[in-house]
C-alpha cells in the first residue's frame, strides 16, 4: 500500500505547479456566476476558498463558509463529462474538388488533462462512461485518447449535499478506486492541511516531486472520521433492491403521467448527468456546397428529434420520455452495461428547474406497489425481522 503523506496549502500549490510543469492542463473547481464550475486552474488562488453550496430540488445557492476550506462545497452544475465527452465536437470535414470530394477526419484530441477535486461519485461516473465509450464494440477514439492521457486528483467529500445519495448507490463518499491521487482536506482552528495518497504509479511519481511530509496516526484517523461523517449526511436516499424489476413491472404506473404534468421536457437533467452519453450529429454545408462538416452534439432523450424515425417521433409524450430516461438510468442500463446508470450525485434533482426528484419518484412507485403487496407479504417480512 502507498503510504499517505501530508501537505499544507503551499504543498497543494506545489502539486498544481508540478502538474502544469509536466504538461497537464489542470482543471478544477472555481467560482463563476454564483456557482462552482470546472475551469482552468493555475494556482490555489483559483480555487473556491471559503465557498460552499446549498442545494435542494430546483435550487442551488452559493454561500460563504465560516472557514477557508478549498473543497468545502459538494458539486456544481458541471461534470468532467464536458472535457472527456465535449458538448460539441467536429467529427470530420469534406471538401469538394472538380470530380470528387475528400474526407478529412478529425484527429483525436490528445490534451493532457489533470482534473483536480474529483469526487467519488464522479470517478464512478467516468468508470461508467468508460464502459460506454471504450469497453464497447465501437470505441470512441477521441474519448479514449483524452481518457488515457488524463490524471485524476480526487478529494474525499468533507460534507454531503442535500441532493446527494451516493451511499445508496454505493459510489461514495470515500474515494476507493480509479484515482491517481486522493486528498482529504483537514481543517480546524489551528491548521489547514491535506492528507494525500497515491493510487497509481503516475500519482506516486508526482507525489515524490511534491514532497509531502509523513502523515501521523492522528491525521489518518481524522481523515477517516471526516468521510465517515459525510456518509451520515446524505440529503437523499434511494432504495435500490430489485429496482430493475420494480420499474419494468410498473411501466404503466400512474406516477409517470403525474410526473409529466410537472416535467418541462427541457433536458437539463440529462445534460447535467455525468453518465448520460447521448449525442446527435448535425451535417452542415457552406453556401456554395463545396465544404461540408459533421458535428457531434450532446443530445437528450427529452427532445423530439431523439426518437424520430421516418414518419415521426416514437416517444412524443413527456410521459414516455421521462419514463425512458428513468428506466434507462436505473434499470435497462443494468442489462446494457452491467451497472446502474446512476451514481447518486443529485445533479438532476438540483438542476431540474422544477425540482423533479428521481429518488422521490422511485419511492412513490415502490410504496404504491408494496401497499398492494402488503396483505400478502406482511407476515413474512415480520418473520425475517425476528
Amino acid at each position: 500500500m502507498n503510504k499517505p503523506g501530508v501537505i499544507d496549502r503551499e504543498g497543494l500549490n506545489r502539486l498544481i505547479q508540478t502538474l502544469i510543469g509536466r504538461g497537464y492542463q489542470v482543471v478544477g473547481p472555481t467560482v463563476r456566476d454564483e456557482a462552482i464550475v470546472y475551469d482552468n486552474v493555475f494556482s490555489i488562488e483559483d480555487l473556491p476558498a471559503g465557498w460552499t453550496d446549498e442545494q435542494e430540488g430546483g435550487t442551488y445557492r452559493l454561500k460563504k463558509r465560516s472557514d477557508d476550506a478549498l473543497f468545502g462545497y459538494t458539486l456544481g452544475p458541471h461534470s468532467w463529462k464536458r472535457f472527456l465527452h465535449p458538448p460539441e465536437r467536429r467529427l470530420w470535414q469534406a471538401q469538394k474538388d472538380s470530380l470528387d470530394f475528400d474526407i478529412v477526419p478529425e484527429q483525436p484530441d490528445n490534451t493532457k488533462y489533470a482534473f483536480l477535486g474529483m469526487r467519488s461519485c464522479e470517478l464512478h461516473a467516468i468508470a461508467i462512461q468508460d464502459k460506454v465509450f471504450i469497453q464497447s464494440p465501437h470505441t470512441d477514439l477521441h474519448y479514449q485518447s483524452l481518457r488515457q492521457n488524463a490524471l485524476f486528483v480526487a478529494v474525499n467529500c468533507g460534507q454531503a449535499g442535500n441532493t446527494c445519495f451516493c451511499v445508496s448507490m454505493q459510489t461514495g463518499p470515500k474515494v476507493e478506486a480509479g484515482y491517481d491521487l486522493v486528498l482529504t482536506e483537514i481543517l480546524d482552528d489551528s491548521h489547514h492541511s491535506f492528507l494525500i495518497e497515491a493510487g497509481s504509479e503516475a500519482g506516486k511519481n508526482i507525489l515524490e516531486e511534491v514532497k509531502a511530509g509523513p502523515a501521523g496516526a492522528g491525521e489518518i484517523k481524522k481523515a477517516e472520521e471526516i468521510v465517515t461523517n459525510t456518509a451520515k449526511q446524505m440529503g437523499r436516499a434511494m432504495e435500490t433492491g430489485n429496482i430493475k424489476e420494480l420499474l419494468y413491472e410498473n411501466l404503466e404506473h400512474p406516477a409517470w403521467g403525474e410526473i409529466a404534468e410537472r416535467c418541462l421536457s427541457c433536458a437539463n437533467c440529462t445534460m447535467v448527468c455525468p453518465t448520460c452519453f447521448c449525442s446527435t450529429v448535425e451535417d452542415v454545408t457552406d453556401v456554395a456546397g463545396d465544404h461540408a462538416e459533421r458535428w457531434q452534439k450532446w443530445d437528450s432523450c427529452f427532445t423530439m428529434d431523439f426518437s424520430s424515425i421516418h414518419g415521426g417521433a416514437v416517444r412524443n409524450s413527456t410521459q414516455s420520455r421521462y419514463r425512458q430516461w428513468m428506466t434507462h438510468k436505473l434499470a435497462s442500463w443494468q442489462d446494457q452495461f452491467d451497472t446502474s446508470g446512476c451514481v447518486g450525485c443529485g445533479r438532476c434533482i438540483t438542476w431540474c428547474p422544477v425540482g423533479i426528484d428521481l429518488t422521490r419518484e422511485v419511492a412513490v412507485i415502490r410504496e404504491s406497489t408494496t401497499c398492494q403487496e402488503e396483505n400478502f407479504s406482511g407476515s413474512e417480512a415480520q418473520n425475517e425481522n425476528s
Binding site: R32, D33, E34, A35, V37, G58, T59, Y60, R61, L62, G76, P77, H78, R82, P87, E88, E261, R262, C263, L264, S265, C266, A267, N268, M271, V272, E282, D283, V284, T285, D286, V287, A288, G289, K297, W298, S300, F302, T303, M304, D305, T318, T350, W351, P353, V354
Partner: protein, 264 residues
Amino acid sequence: MSGKSKPKVAVWKFASCDGCQLSLLDCEDELLALTEEIEIANFPEASRAVVKGPYDLSLVEGSITTPDDLSRIQEIRRLSKTLVTIGACATAGGIQALRNFKDIHEFVSIVYASPEFISTLDQSTPISSHIKVDFELRGCPVSKAQLVEVISAYLNQRTPNTPAHSTCVECKRRGTVCVMVAKGTMCLGPVTHAGCDALCPTYNRGCYGCFGPQENPNTISLGDRLREQGADSAEVVRAFRSFNAGAEAFLKESERHEKENQKH
C-alpha cells in the same frame, strides 16, 4: 454554379421592425458568398430595385396587420416556389400582437389625428394563418447563423439544422450556469425554442422567449414554478406577453395568469 442560372431570392416586409432583414445584411462574411450563389431579386433594406417574379425563394418578414397585407401575401405566395417566414412577427404575430388583447380602434382614435385614414385589422397574425408556409425560422430577431443555415440548406437541398428543443440545451452545452436554479431569476428557457445559443442566460439574464415555444412546451408547469419563485401573476403575464405573445402556448399561459390576476 456557373452555367446554371442562380436561384432568384426575394425578401418581403410586412408589419415588422426590419431587424430580421438587418440580420441578413449583418451576415457580412457570408453575404458575398451568398450573392455568388443567388440573385437577390427584392430586398427592401438593401436596395429599391425589384426584379420581376416568379421567385425561387421568398423570405417573408413581418406579420399581417392591414387589409392590404392580406392581398399582398397571397400575391407573394403565388409568385414564390418556396416561401420561408423569418422572425417572431412572421411566425407568431410579433410584439404588435399585443393589440390582439385590446381594442385596436381605441388606440387608433387616441394616436392619430385623423383616424378615418387608418385602415387596419383587429389582430396581428402570423403569415401561416393566411397562406401555406414551407419553413418557419424563429427569433426576434432571427439568428444570422441560422438564417445563413436555412439558405445554405435550401441551396444544397437538405434540411436546415434548427433544433426545436429547449433553450436549456444550449445553456448546458455552453456551460452556462442556470440563472433560474442558481439565482431564482425568471427564465422562459425551459419552454423556449432554441436558436440564440442561450444568449441571455449566458449574460446573467433570464430568457425572454424570443424564439417562441419549443416543440413540447409545458408552460403551465413553468408558470407555476415562476410563481413559486416569487413572481406575481402580473409579472408572469408580462413574461409570456412579449415578442411571441400570439404563439398559442404563450398566449394560453398569459391568459391563465391574467385571469388569476383579475381575481385579486
